[in-house]
Each structure stands twice: as C-alpha cells, then as structure tokens.
C-alpha cells in the first residue's frame, strides 16, 4: 500500500539553524504520532508536508504529490495548527460552512457538513455563538472541526492538546481516537507529550534534533521493553544486592526496584531473594515501558 505521507531526504534549514536533516519517513493509514521535544522539527515537518514551507532539499509528498504544487491533494488534506487560527466575529457554523466551501464543497453540502462535524466534536449547542466567546477547549474543537469539515483523507494535527486542562486534554484525545478509528480518517498527530501519543496512536515516529531517532508501532515498543516492578517496605539495598548476585539487572528508582525481565523463571528467583533479604513485599508486577522510557533512551 502506498504511503499517505512520504519524506525522502527531507532537509530544512533556517539560515544556520537546522530544523530537519535528511529525514526519510512514511506515514500510512491509521493514527501516527510524531513525538519530539519543542524544536525537534515536528511543526516544520508538518508544514513541509502541507506545502506551507519549501524544503531546503529532499521532498515531502502527500499521496504521491507535493502539496505546494497540487491543489487537488490539498482538497484531501486537513490541518489543525498549533497557533490560534480562528477569527472572532463569525459563529462556529458560519466559519465551518465557509471553510468547507474554501475546501471546494458546494454551499448546501458545506452547510450540512458544518452541522455534522460540529455535532461530532460536541459543539452542536454552541454552533450559533461567535468564536470570540469560546473557551480554549472549545476553540481547539473548532480547530479540529475545520480540519475535518471537508472529510479529508488525512489530517495533520500540530500539538492538538496545547493549552488544555487535563479534562479537556482527555476529551480531545478521545475525539482524535474516534476520528481515527471510527471516522476512518488517517491522522498524523504531533506532540511533545508522550502520554498523548501512547494513548492515541498506532505508530510512532520520534524526532530528535531534526533526525528520526525511533519509528515503529507503539505496541512493539511497549511489548519489547517489559520490566518487573518490585516494591518493598524495608531492606531495599539488601534485596538489590541479592538480585545482582543472582545475575539480574536491577536498578533502584525511588522506592522501587526495576528488574529487566529476561525469562519467566525470574519471578521465582525474585520471590526467593525477597525471602532471603527478609523484606516485606508490597508489589511485584510486570511493567510495560512507557514511551517516556523510549524517549529518554533516544535522548541518551
């Protein structure tokens, strides 16, 4: 299957600053996360795919074409920018109807789509309110709605949860998940928040300093890096000493001992070590590595 987004040797320099350097990546159907620190090159990559920026070298193609050269491709593309992009005067309904028409939909269809999409993002009741009176969370939903109003094949979301409180963030992530899973619209979600990507995406691309440091399915990363968490009330140092003697890789993280699981029999060895150290066991559980660990690993 041909990729929806494909970068080949994509490089972007702003004067002496290198934003992206020889990046090769492919984004297929589904929800893909673009993870990286601020300044890692996520927004630059998205703008290069959208055709808002021109690459210094290499190419960024959407469905096999360059977005800056093909208006047909842009009719199938949605974009939710990180920054503010909403006028204050029109109502949500007027704005979405207008954006649908700018995307090429006839007026009657544009009105219908605007109403449908506003219902899907949970703003049906507020559709006749001026955008200037909306809260940050509601504005984020309108930004998502305008990216979906013309039913694109793929949507590029740049820091979609920026500025939201925990509740609003959870609702936005749920909306993004539904958009990707139920609506059948592919998504490229950029974020510097590992939790957002882990909870929402099927695949992940980690950008660091303008380079791709990791790429693959989220489940592959979390399955392949399984750890065991041991929490004891006392004799922590003694326990670590015994486990190290038994050939286990044990590290202390605050009140926890983390052991890299190499085979199932290690559970018995740990049990025996706890008995030998005369420690009171609180917790013994497998832990999946979060994306935060991968991210830290990439950094180191």
């Amino acid at each position: 299957m041909s990729p929806l987004l494909e970068a080949k040797g994509l490089t972007k320099h702003y004067g002496a600053t290198i934003a992206l350097e020889s990046v090769d990546l492919q984004v297929h159907e589904g929800i893909t996360g673009l993870l990286g620190h601020n300044g890692a090159g996520k927004s630059t990559a998205i703008k290069l795919f959208l055709g808002l920026l021109m690459p210094t070298s290499g190419s960024a193609e959407v469905m096999g074409k360059k977005a800056c050269e093909s208006v047909d491709v842009r009719a199938r593309l949605g974009y939710m920018p990180e920054h503010d992009c909403l006028p204050s005067n029109p109502t949500a309904s007027e704005f979405l109807t207008h954006m649908a028409q700018v995307s090429g939909l006839p007026p009657a269809s544009a009105r219908t789509r605007a109403a449908d999409v506003l219902r899907h993002v949970g703003l049906s009741e507020e559709r006749y309110r001026a955008l200037g009176s909306f809260s940050t969370g509601m504005k984020q939903r309108v930004k998502l709605a305008q990216a979906l109003v013309h039913d694109p094949t793929i949507v590029l979301l740049d820091e979609a949860t920026a500025g939201l409180d925990p509740g609003g963030r959870e609702e936005m992530l749920d909306l993004i998940r539904r958009t990707g899973k139920e609506f059948g619209i592919s998504i490229l979600l950029s974020s510097h928040l590992m939790g957002d990507i882990e909870r929402t995406c099927d695949r992940i691309i980690v950008l660091d300093g303008g380079h791709i440091s990791e790429a693959g399915s989220v489940s592959r990363f979390t399955r392949e890096t399984q750890n065991i968490i041991i929490e004891v009330d006392n004799n922590l140092d003694e326990l670590v000493k015994i486990m190290t003697r038994e050939g286990m890789k044990a590290t202390v993280e605050g009140p926890l001992v983390i052991v890299e699981l190499e085979h199932e029999e290690q559970y018995d060895t740990i049990r025996d070590a706890v008995v030998e150290a005369d420690a009171t066991l609180r917790r013994l559980a497998p832990r999946r590595h979060g994306l935060a660990d991968i991210f830290r690993g990439a950094q180191s």
Binding site: L52, A75, P106, S109, H150
Partner: protein, 315 residues
C-alpha cells in the same frame, strides 16, 4: 390491529461522497466572504455603519445632483458625470483606506490565512479573490450613483428621449472611468494592507499618503499669485490654465505627485472633461500619454507588490 415496528439507527460519522468543486469554489468562497466583509455583513452593527453611510452618501449625492439638474437655468449649471466622480472619488478613497485593510489584515493577524493556504487555493487565488471582492464593492458604490444620476439627468431634460439618444455614450464612459478609479482605489490600499496586521496602521498610512501627497503637489504646482489677475476678473480661469508654477517648467510634472488624483487624470480623459484643480491643470500640460502611463505604474506597481508579498508566505 396493525403492528408497528421501528428501529433507531445511529448513523455516526458519514463520509462525504458529494461533489468537490475544487479551486473555483474556493475562489468564489473567498470572493463572497470578501464582499460580505467590506459591506459589514454577518458582523455587528458597528461594522455596517461606514459602508452604509458611504453608500447612502453616494446615492444621496446622485439624487441631489439630479435635482440640481432639474432646477438648472442653463446647460452650464447642469452637473455632469465627471463632476459626480470628483466628489465620489474622495469618498471612495476614504472608504478604500478604511475598509480595504479589513479584507487582508485580520486573516494574517488571526492566522486564518494558513488554513486557506492548505486548501485548494493558491496565494494568487487568495489575493485575486480578495482584490476582486473589494473591486466589486467599489464598482457597485460608484455605478449605483452614476446610474441614478443618469436617470435623473434624463428625466430632468426637456426631451428625455432625445437626451437619451444624444447621451447614451455617457454610460460606457462613466463605466470605463469608474473602472479606472475602482482599480486604483482597490489596489493601492490592499498593497499597503499586505504589510501590516493592524487595520488602523494601514488606513492611517493610506489616508496620510493621499493627504501629504496632495499638499506637496499643491505647493509645487502653485502659481505665483502676482502673475494672476483678480479672481473675479474674466481672464482669471485662462490665466490659471496658462500660468507657470513657481517651480518653473518642471512644475507640471509635480502634479503627478498627488496620488489621490492619479485615477482622476485618466477618468477625465475618458469622460472628456477637465478638472479645475491646479494639479489637474498642470498635468494637462503634459503629453496625454504621461498621466495614463503614470496611472498604469501606480496600479501595476502596488498590484505586483501585493502579489509578491503573499507569494512569500510560502518560504
């Protein structure tokens, strides 16, 4: 008894399978939105005040001039379409300076422009559609008054049918002159608006440009009062026409500095009329092609700047 059965379906999200009209629809949407913005439609009452007042004034002036034509004793006292342009072009310049920035500045200030540019629309499409929107409103403003005046003059004539027969060519003339004025008053303020996100700065700059250039041109084209007879003497108008500015032979060129009168020189040529302003008198001493070429430079130049400014939004 009939049994009724029903089922509730949750249609959920529906993919859009309808027509996609692409670039033409996008251009049209930007054009219509631009006209609505210029007229203050879909916005608060305050946004409608200025366009409403200006349209009202344009029509009011046409009605007043028609009434003057009805009451005129001699043909010299009957107002002409060129007279109407001299009044309305000042109004249109103010209207353009204040309203034109509304079409461009907020889109860049609010970041909406980036939503437009990722849709089936090029920067050229966007700028051309916004330009056309303001041009359409300007033409409507100009032509509505001129049409009312033409009807008024026809009705005021002793023989309406013969007036119509003799003067029907006035219609393409005032449409052509209106086109010249509207192209200029649309392009320059939009070009200025492309350099700021603040509407007030753009409006102040354009009004300042018109005002300062008019003052400078007025000073540089002024004749020495000592060379002129008394204002009430019969030869005063002729003397004004023939006098040499204080700046000497080159003074007639300084008339071109008055930016607000640039389209007026060309519209006077089209309307076959002569303005009595000192700047226009001096410009008339230049070869006929000069004001036309100057007009083309003063519209094509800002037009090119406007186009380039938006092309550079993709870097």
């Amino acid at each position: 008894m009939t049994e009724y059965s029903s089922e509730v379906f949750d249609l959920g999200y529906q993919r859009y399978e309808g027509p996609r009209e692409g670039r033409m629809r996008a251009r049209k949407a930007i054009w219509i939105d631009g006209m609505r913005t210029a007229l203050g439609l879909g916005r608060g009452a305050r946004a409608k005040i200025l366009p409403g007042v200006l349209f009202g004034f344009a029509i009011f002036m046409a009605v007043i001039m028609s009434l003057v034509a009805t009451a005129a004793d001699s043909s010299d006292d009957i107002p002409t379409h060129a007279d109407y342009y001299r009044i309305i072009s000042v109004i249109l310049l103010i209207f353009s300076a204040i309203i034109a920035p509304e079409l461009l500045c907020p889109d860049r200030r609010d970041g909406v422009i980036y939503l437009y540019l990722v849709r089936p629309l090029t920067t050229t499409d966007y700028v051309a559609s916004r330009w056309l929107a303001f041009f359409s409103v300007s033409m409507a403003l100009i032509c509505s008054g001129q049409l009312i005046l033409f009807v008024g003059l026809t009705l005021a004539a002793d023989e309406s049918l013969s007036y119509l027969k003799d003067n029907w060519m006035d219609v393409p003339r005032f449409l052509g002159a209106g086109l010249v004025i509207a192209v200029f008053t649309t392009t320059l303020p939009l070009a200025v608006s492309a350099f700021t996100t603040r509407k007030a700065y753009a409006a102040a700059f354009v009004i300042g440009l018109f005002f300062i250039s008019a003052v400078i041109a007025g000073i540089l084209t002024e004749c020495d009062p000592m060379d002129l007879p008394s204002e009430r003497s019969p030869g005063y108008e002729t003397a004004l026409e023939e006098c040499e500015p204080r700046t000497g032979e080159v003074g007639k060129w300084f008339g071109l500095i008055d930016i607000g009168q640039v389209p007026g020189h060309v519209s006077d040529l089209i309307m076959d009329d002569e303005s009595k302003s000192q700047v226009a008198r001096q410009v008339r001493k230049l070869p006929t092609g000069i004001p036309v070429i100057w007009y083309l430079i003063m519209t094509a130049g800002p037009g090119y700047v406007l186009w380039q400014r938006y092309r550079r939004l993709r870097v």
